[in-house]
Symmetry: C2
Subunit: 115 residues, 2 copies
């Protein structure tokens, strides 16, 4: 999944599909300056990561985004929230909700950040 979103083209693909709308490969390709086959490959990689769902409709394949795997990314990101937080400490709170449902909205003092 981390690998999947590491590529700029694939991130663009996700942006394109982020509305949740379903697009056929034919409709997606013109947004990029590469061949249909290349776009298809990228979509396949995204599909392997679970980030898009493919559906065959007649002779065309329609792609729709599935953001669920990105939850892992958010969970990972939560590990580092202490670095910025204070103003945005709510994010950490969210993370904690996932694990233990702690409701504290206290913002971290960033203990040893004594740069």
């Amino acid at each position: 999944m981390f690998q999947a979103i590491a590529d700029p083209t694939r991130r663009e693909l996700l942006q394109l599909l982020r509305t949740g709308e379903e697009f056929p490969l034919k409709g997606i390709t013109p947004h990029f300056s590469m061949t249909r086959a290349a776009v298809s490959k990228h979509l396949h990689i995204l599909s392997d990561a679970g980030l898009v769902h493919e559906r065959r409709v007649g002779r065309e394949t329609r792609y729709r985004m599935n953001a669920d795997p990105l939850l892992e990314l958010r969970r990972w990101l939560a590990f580092f929230e202490r670095y910025w937080d204070n103003k945005l400490g709510m994010l950490k709170m969210i993370a904690e909700t996932e694990h233990e449902a702690a409701g504290a909205k206290s913002d971290q003092p960033a203990a040893q950040d004594g740069k």
Copy 2:
């Protein structure tokens, strides 16, 4: 930056450094089953992405994490919060504050979703 965190070894490195503590290469290497040179390379990539800071102390180099570049990741992630949100919609709010993005809470069009 996305490329930098795409590698599992580098994510482990960040986990190791996430406390904000400073570590010399010598101290980091034994945590991994690869040569010092390889670890150094990874750290360099993280450094290029701004995710760690290097500091020469005598003949050793000490590494310390800098999570700031991950803010970009969070901003990117915020684009997709609508998929999970409701309960967690605050993230989107943050994103909108950063840019101005449209915040339609409408859910899937699914117009042609005959699945």
